[in-house]
């Protein structure tokens, strides 16, 4: 235990339960240590409480029991979020959307113009700063959403199935770009997904969860070094990790592997 405490320098989740009104147990006994630079995937079937876990960490819900502690010198709230939908403000331009986290801290646009444009450059959308969200494709909207989540360089970025609504080609490209981005700015990510392939490609740790009640059943380490590229996607290592994660997922769903 001592060992873990010293290692988790972002966030500790200790034996967190969440029971909703009517006695639905959404999450049971979730424990998680998040270290700087981690890319953790929460993988599981729907109803396994992975989104609940994310909402607990984001502070949108409070745990029924257990504790969530920010362990670094940064307080809670130093995080960026990407939802399944891009959730952009349709009345605001791309740049204004990315400015939002700063704006809510009372920072004027001019004061952070460089940061906003840099974030847009990192997701490859610097030319679209004055466009409105409706002029963008689904993948581009998601890029704006990612730019908004990282513009303040938060300690932790939470992503809730961000690419689930996109087509496969766009999803692969965004997976690659997300890893490239992580290399560049060294962010820490918790990523919720129901895709085995996505979780293996992106993460260094996969938490496999089961439903009813939502709980962790396996934690897998993906040892492949970053940067990972298309070659990794076709490697035998990748296939083996996918196999392992897939077996765990089948176990989670109560089916023979």
């Amino acid at each position: 235990m001592q060992d873990i405490t010293t290692r988790s320098d972002v966030l500790r989740v200790e034996k967190v339960d969440k029971t909703f009104h009517g006695g639905v147990v959404a999450l049971q006994g979730l424990s998680l240590d998040v270290r700087t630079g981690d890319f953790i995937s929460l993988l599981g079937p729907s109803g396994c409480g992975k989104s609940t876990a994310l909402r607990l960490i984001a502070g949108l819900l409070s745990p029924t029991s257990g504790r969530i502690t920010w362990t670094g010198d940064h307080g809670p709230g130093d995080l960026g979020v990407v939802f399944q939908e891009a959730t952009l403000m349709p009345w605001a331009t791309v740049a204004q959307n990315v400015w939002l986290p700063f704006r809510l801290r009372g920072v004027t646009y001019n004061a952070v113009k460089d940061e906003v444009l840099e974030a847009l450059r990192l997701v490859g959308l610097e030319k679209f700063q004055n466009s409105y969200p409706r002029e963008l494709s689904g993948g581009m909207k998601m890029r704006v959403s990612i730019a908004r989540a990282m513009v303040t360089r938060p300690r932790l970025i939470l992503m809730d199935e961000p690419f689930a609504a996109l087509d496969e080609i766009t999803r692969f490209r965004l997976n690659n770009d997300l890893l490239a981005l992580k290399e560049k700015i060294g962010c820490t990510v918790i990523f919720v997904t129901h895709s085995v392939f996505e979780s293996v490609f992106l993460s260094d740790r996969i938490i496999v969860m089961a439903a009813r009640p939502g709980r962790v059943i396996r934690e897998l380490a993906v040892g492949a070094p970053y940067p990972r590229d298309e070659a990794f996607r076709t490697s035998s290592d990748y296939a083996a990790y996918c196999r392992e994660a897939s077996d765990a997922l089948h176990e989670a769903m109560g089916e023979p592997a």
């Binding site: 502070g59 709230g77 939802f83 009345w91 939002l100 809510l104």
Partner: protein, 291 residues
Amino acid sequence: MSLTDSKPIPAPPTDAALLDAEETNRLRRARRDRIGKWTLPIVVLVVMLVIWDRIVVWNDLPHYILPGPGLVFETLIKDWAILFDALLVTVQITLMALAVAVLGGVGLAILFTQSRWMEMSFYPYAVILQVTPIVAIAPLIFIYVDSRIAGLLLCAWLVAFFPVLSNTTLGLNSADHGLRDLFRIYGATRWQRLRYLQLPSALPYFLGGLRIAGGLSLIGAVVAEYVAGTGGIGSGLAFRILEAGYRLNIPRMFAALILIAATGVIIFACLSYLSHMLLRKWHESALKRDG
């Protein structure tokens, strides 16, 4: 006749050979629709005027029963000085009532969304005020309110504020849930949430309510004038209609009626234009449709 659709259709490509039959048909249909949208109502108008005129002439109707369109137009020109003064009074009341309806409606809507208790306490009474016919309340208002202008304004406001209130309340409550979560995560204050999220989300709803309120405030102003009924200097179009009715000056009644209707149409068109300008960059209702 929404102003959104009046955009010129892009000219068909010069290279007509590249277009297949279906596309050509589609373009032709679009052009026909565009012309028809303006010409057809005009044709209907002309036909109706001719029929009206013929009915009057063939039946030899006296002008105090039914004046012909020519006579109505003549009266409109001849009595322009009287009618225009009255029109200004009515328009003034209407616009003031609309302004107060916007302030009151939006103000109450913000109050309601900020406080559940406020909404629970007062919303039922807003509904009661709305469903009680204004003609029934207006006489009472004129008993208790001394100022005639204030009385008129109050009547028009009572009719007009509700659509602004209910639409704006709906809009303020329909901000995207993902964005609400985002604002919470980023620690937005109540004021920031209202200013940056709820008010912009409510804008399209508010503008819809505003267009209805524009017409209603005119109706409210006219009805109130009927009830108030005092004449002399500073009376509006409704009073002119009443007065002309007593004197069997039917052509002037028609002329005043035309002015009221035209005012309503102009108010609606202005508010539609305002709505289009405010929303054209981002809202679905104002987007140019391709194809």
